[in-house]
Subunit: 440 residues, 2 copies
């Protein structure tokens, strides 16, 4: 932990300089001001009530490759972890500020939006021109709808969208900075899949990256079709490697009509034989690691939980520990792409790693994909504790049953996080009382 | 047009060799066989009825950067053009095979799935524990639901999903090849945003690309945490440029706990100052241009319509003409990212370019985002024809009213495509009759 005295402004360091540079070079999303106002009202309301509030980030961030964005890099994430966790946090009494990728899964509606059936399949025509839920889905839908309306009507859930990595960072910084009134009741649960790399705006192409040299194409075609305007801007960062003099020979002639078939190439065996002029090379910079700034400056009193998603089991806990050491926050939840619905590992300072696992039974039957938190989480915890927590290594994905687990693992994760948050609050208060006598 | 004699197998050329290579090097999606069966039944059913059938492709393709995919490149596309077009094609009497990006917009449900309101906001609790549509939405929802059920119950709509560029190409090839029984009644309406570049499987990393050198990290941490397993595989194509000997100095020390802060860097001013070891370089090959194979081999009798989306107005029609010249198909619909809901341009062989525009009025009022084809398309066509078709240049995006157009432009596009398809069928039949006397 940083041994910084609360209330004292730290001297500007390189992390803050990097922050200033990033946020001035990358423009804020256009709705930032509106979102900040909504978030402030929401946070202040719950701070006044003395309620715990969790900021959940969810879904993947995009990395635009062009200013007028046609192509972008994305991170795998439907938003399942975040949206599911939100429901269990609400159940645990938290107010939930849900900062999510636009059109990713939302709490409650997630049961229908990415289901195998199209949402209209859940509905049928009722009497007198009404539209009603299909009989077999009605009772579950009613449960979900009631919980959703409860959350909405009691002002317990606020959803704010982002799209790009820079939108995300702007929103996260602004909202985290509003959380001070919550003190240690603030929880930051960073489940979004955030890109590690981006294209800085000054190196970003204005227009869609061309697979052919559009300027050249224009010249070739201009004899038959006269237009005149500025040449497309160069793409200094992400670009189709410019043909370095001399057109590429085409052996694939096929009834062309006078236009030289510039894009044709004649061999895909291995990359060296694909002419360099036909490839796309994207050169990305690392995204500044703002978790440090979050911990030290943006939200210094809240408890901070981050996620680490890996595909290689052999580096998961190492990466988690590394992250914890580096950022000095409070909990890293590690998970593997292939087993993320079956197990996660809690890595926290001065604690033994703790694996949390759902029972290894496939979800039984289930006539639709809409079941909410089924099963009994408490019973599941018992099963898990007695059967699997002695195993400190990741599960073998091949050992898992097919399909979805019987219960949602978030029904185990959130109560465990809540317990740690309670301890965090206790420690915080104890330290505050301890410090209250000492001069600032 | 290719003057190839129907029925005769062309000699294998470089395009077919490229095809064979691509499809053997890139494995098919796991549900291909199931999808092909569904598609075959659907197509044969409508071929027997003598009905026109359109294969619509919709949404963007992903380009995985890792085999266990965490990161991928994507193309901007919610699937609006495809999903909206599908509804108007159904209205025009076509059977619709909807090959779409998983979780992109679907016909009919699109009115609710990406709306500003969460889908649950459209519902309320009714009497006796029922769930019903909110009163103000009920009548529109009923319209949509009826059209959807009509299409479904009459077997007029089949939706098949894809995810990656290679899934898409496998599905497209297999389905197009099934369309032969339809003869000229087949229409291919290629509205998907298909990537031009990809990472060949033999150059793809198995695991998530690391922003640090994970092998190195493991070594550093192994003293405190013993694990042993194979080192993560190298990333020959997409990789964080390996640190070339010597660790990168960190001036940003901040209470580290003995772990060397490898990821820290201290300057974001401009790229040359970001150490090469911290950047990500993604090296992509061009995706083979299979439109040629589609036109000549996969579906030689159907009418083929492709889309060209650009951001630079000065190259739009040039790119469209270039594509038409190159692939010798029947229609390119050009559109610009910023004006795509307001105008498109039809570029067809031996025809003057034809701009299709919606009236320049903002959609009025509208208490929700669920309106279906509102307004009167016929009247709109008249307005458009008399006011704007004399303008051959793209609209200035700044001249557009804010918000959505009063009518959906697809309500104008589809009837115009249908007319061209009718002409295509007539010509095809005339030529067939003309040829019927000549020996094969």
């Amino acid at each position: 932990m940083m041994s910084q005295i609360p209330g004292e402004t730290p001297p500007p360091n390189l992390a803050t300089l990097a922050e200033d540079h990033y946020f001035s070079a990358n423009p804020p999303p256009k709705d930032l001001e509106k979102h900040v106002k909504q978030a402030k009202d929401f946070i202040d309301f719950h701070a006044k009530e003395g309620r715990r509030l969790v900021l959940i980030t969810s879904g993947g961030t995009t990395v635009p490759l062009e200013k007028q964005t046609v192509r972008f890099i994305d991170n795998f994430s439907a938003g399942t972890r975040g949206a599911t966790s939100a429901e269990y946090f609400l159940e645990a009494g938290y107010a939930v500020l849900f900062l999510h990728r636009q059109f990713s899964l939302l709490p409650f509606s997630r049961h229908y939006s990415h289901a195998k059936d199209c949402f209209l399949d859940f509905l049928r025509e009722g009497p007198d021109g009404s539209v009603v839920a299909r009989d077999k889905d009605a009772s579950k839908m009613l449960q979900v709808l009631r919980k959703y309306h409860d959350a909405r009507d009691n002002n317990m859930l606020l959803a704010i969208p982002f799209l790009s990595i820079s939108d995300y960072l702007h929103e996260l910084r602004s909202i985290a900075q509003l959380m001070k009134p919550l003190g240690p009741n603030a929880l930051l649960y960073l489940a979004a899949a955030v890109s590690d790399f981006f294209v800085p705006p000054d190196r970003m192409s204005e227009h869609k990256i061309q697979s052919t040299d559009a300027a050249d194409l224009k010249k070739k075609l201009s004899s038959s079709t006269a237009t005149s305007s500025a040449a497309p801007s160069a793409n200094p960062s992400a670009r189709a490697t410019p043909a370095s003099g001399g057109s590429v020979g085409s052996r694939n002639g096929s009834g062309g009509t006078g236009v030289v078939d510039e894009e044709t190439f004649d061999n895909f065996d291995s990359s060296p034989t694909v002419p360099r002029s036909k490839r796309l090379v994207v050169d990305l910079d690392p995204v500044p690691k703002f978790l440090k700034n979050l911990v030290e400056g943006w939200s210094p009193e809240g408890m901070i939980v981050s996620f680490k998603l890996e595909t290689d089991p052999s580096i998961l806990t190492l990466k988690a520990k590394y992250s914890l050491n580096r950022y000095q926050h409070h909990l890293v939840i590690g998970n593997l792409l292939s087993t993320r619905k079956w197990e996660v590992v809690f890595v926290a300072p001065n604690r033994k790693d703790r694996w949390i696992r759902v029972p290894m039974h496939r979800r039984v039957g289930g006539s639709s994909s809409t079941s909410t938190s089924s099963g009994n989480p408490a019973a599941a915890v018992t099963t898990t504790t007695t059967t699997t927590t002695d195993k400190d290594e990741p599960l073998d994905p091949k050992s898992l049953p097919e399909g979805e687990p019987e219960i949602e693992i978030e029904s185990l994760i959130i109560p465990a996080v809540k317990d740690l948050h309670s301890e965090y609050i206790d420690t915080f208060e104890r330290e505050r009382r301890g410090r209250s006598g000492t001069p600032a």
